[in-house]
């Protein structure tokens, strides 16, 4: 489904040149649950941004569903973000002015598909947030906010969910709850690529890719 080949990302030039990703290649198949690990600065988050078209790569290819997406212009990338790839961020990235339910519905506002209200409520209820639907992010705990973000990611039924340190700002209990949710969705056939530096989190994935200095150092299937 997703093919990454020879992906290289270089920041700056000359003295300040930093090679964030150096010839990284791997595949994500439908139903995969991959954790990308590595020390900070190893290029994990860059990899995730590059996969999802949030950042441009220096060289290499990203092919999603048979379509090359690394060289798409902004307007085509918008289509990718509306249903093919969804994100879950470490900082949740919810809009502060909207309630939980409205945040979940935000992608629908932009993609223009209607009648997702029931689905949004259903997702929130699955996240155990049925009663918190009309709360704003600042009235929710970190764990709750991240669950809202997951519901938002799933509202348009993406092919692939990219999660950047989703448990990074959470205590153990909330983190575990979140990983349970991921596991459950994966079991339902959803594909997930998750960046984490947390061993326990990574251990829940089906496969672990360890990045070091912008290169794949190790791949563990479990």
């Amino acid at each position: 489904m997703l093919e990454i080949s020879g992906v290289t990302k270089i920041y700056g030039s000359g003295e300040t040149r930093v090679v964030a990703l150096n010839d990284v290649s791997f595949k994500v198949n439908e139903g995969d649950y991959i954790a990308i690990m590595g020390p900070s600065g190893s290029g994990k988050s860059t990899l995730l941004n590059v996969i999802g078209g949030l950042d441009r790569l220096t060289s290499g290819k990203v092919i999603l569903d048979g379509q090359r997406i690394d060289n798409l212009d902004e307007n085509k990338l918008v289509d990718i973000r509306r249903g093919k790839i969804a994100y879950v961020f470490q900082q949740y990235h919810l809009l502060r002015s909207l309630t939980a339910l409205e945040n979940v519905l935000l992608p629908v506002t932009f993609s223009g598909s209607n009648g997702k209200h029931a689905r949004a409520m259903e997702l929130l209820e699955r996240m155990g947030l049925g009663k918190r639907a009309n709360h704003r992010p600042d009235q929710l705990s970190g764990g709750e906010q991240q669950r809202v973000a997951i519901a938002r990611a799933l509202i348009n039924n993406p092919l692939l969910t990219l999660a950047d340190e989703p448990t990074g700002n959470m205590d153990q209990k909330n983190g575990k709850e979140l990983l349970d949710i991921f596991e459950q969705f994966n079991r339902e056939g959803r594909s997930i690529v998750m960046v984490t530096h947390n061993r326990e989190a990574a251990a829940r994935a089906k496969e672990i890719i360890i990045l070091r200095d912008g290169q794949i150092a190790e791949r563990l299937k479990q």
Binding site: L54, E74, V78, H93, L106, F110
Partner: protein, 396 residues
């Protein structure tokens, strides 16, 4: 949930920030509205004063004036031709004047527009002194000589009434109720005019028909004052038309004073507008700065929206919605504040002016506010959407 709802919710959350931006818009529009309102009040005042200049057309008999002299030595002038205008030419004068005004001003009501006031001058003797008796059409003349005030007694009411200029009354020692003999006709002094500082003070006024009869000048008048009841009426054109169509008369436009006064006002207006323009630019720059900051502060929110599927166009649209809110709010408040400011400073600039709000500046104010808000939004908005989504998260 529609995009505009997302925008409104965001505005409600950021009330204070949004108020700052609105304030910037208000400062710009307020200045323009107050300047325009004060200016309009000034114009109204000057126009009002100009109307007191009375007639703006004067029609005389077409007499040829010949300078007589020997070399550089002037021996005075000699008038040739008829000294009177036939009264039956008056309706035609009115007709020509009204037609020209109608041509010039689109929607004027039916009926007579111009005031046509005939005058007959006769030298006469009262109590042994020579005075100029002036036959007038009481109603029309009062409309032309707007400065006339009856000091004592009443205005001309019947055929055997006379109205005295203040100096004439004083020097002839006449008072209201006295009778005078005018070429054998007995008249009662109905009223005495207040000082005008003009020739009027030395004259006595009687109804035209009475004077014509008394001096056997039936159907004759000496001159006609025409007052086109509008400012900027084409008096030169009217004068030209009268000269062309009526023989034996010479119409002259008396517009010079009005022209120079209006020219002055125009200069003041231009200066004020330049001032308004400068304050608009300054205000606009302030708004631009506020919005630049405000949009940069929200780069992360913009990144979030793009990460969940917003296109560049949708982001710009959202920011334009916000600009529209700023424009409407800024325009309304700016109009209110500007009008209040005009009420406060108007009387200081044009002494004795009564400022009144000008309703049509409200849409103008909103239009200006909207333009400022939109112009100030466009660049930051375009810039914000060029930031890569990943960078917009990193910047915080």
């Amino acid at each position: 949930m529609k995009l505009y709802q997302v925008v409104l919710k965001d505005i409600l959350r950021r009330k204070r920030r949004v108020m700052y931006a609105i304030l910037g818009v208000v400062i710009g529009t307020m200045t323009v509205v107050s300047i325009l309102t004060v200016s309009a009040a000034g114009q109204a005042r000057i126009t009002n004063q100009l109307e007191k200049y009375g007639a703006n057309l004067s029609v005389m008999p077409a007499v040829k004036t010949i300078d007589t002299g020997l070399g550089d030595l002037s021996l005075g002038t000699v008038n040739l031709g008829d000294n009177y205008i036939a009264e039956d030419k008056l309706p035609l004068m009115r007709q020509i004047t009204d037609a020209k005004i109608r041509e010039y001003l689109k929607d004027v009501p039916e009926g007579n527009i111009a005031t046509v006031a005939p005058k007959l001058f006769v030298n006469s003797e009262i109590k042994g002194a020579t005075v100029v008796a002036v036959g007038i059409d009481p109603q029309e003349q009062f409309k032309v000589n707007t400065w006339w005030q009856v000091n004592k007694g009443d205005y001309l009411g019947s055929a055997d009434h006379a109205l005295l200029g203040s100096m004439a009354a004083a020097s002839l020692k006449l008072n209201v109720g006295d009778t005078i003999q005018l070429n054998g006709r007995t008249l009662t002094v109905a009223g005495i005019l207040a000082d005008t500082g003009a020739g009027d003070d030395y004259q006595i006024f009687v109804p035209l028909a009475t004077l014509q009869e008394a001096f056997s000048k039936q159907g004759l008048v000496s001159s006609v004052d025409i007052r086109a009841l509008c400012n900027g009426c084409p008096v030169e054109i009217i004068a030209g038309a009268i000269n062309e169509n009526i023989s034996g008369v010479r119409a002259v436009a008396v517009k010079q004073i009005a022209n120079s006064e209006m020219g002055m006002l125009e200069k003041i207006n231009k200066f004020m507008l330049a001032l308004a323009g400068v304050s608009l630019v300054v205000g606009g720059f302030g708004v631009f700065n506020t919005l630049l900051t405000s949009i940069n502060e929200r780069l992360k929110d913009i990144g979030i929206m793009r990460a969940v599927g917003a296109s560049r166009g949708q982001i710009i649209k959202a920011l334009i919605y916000e600009a529209i809110v700023l424009g409407i709010a800024g325009g309304l408040l700016g109009y209110g504040a500007g009008t209040l400011l005009a009420y406060a400073i108007g009387p200081l600039i044009f002494e004795g002016t009564t400022v009144s709000f000008v309703a049509r500046y409200l849409p103008l104010s909103i239009a200006i506010a909207m333009s400022i808000a939109l112009l100030a939004t466009l660049y930051p908005a375009m810039r914000a959407t060029r930031v890569k989504v990943a960078d917009s998260f990193r910047s915080l």
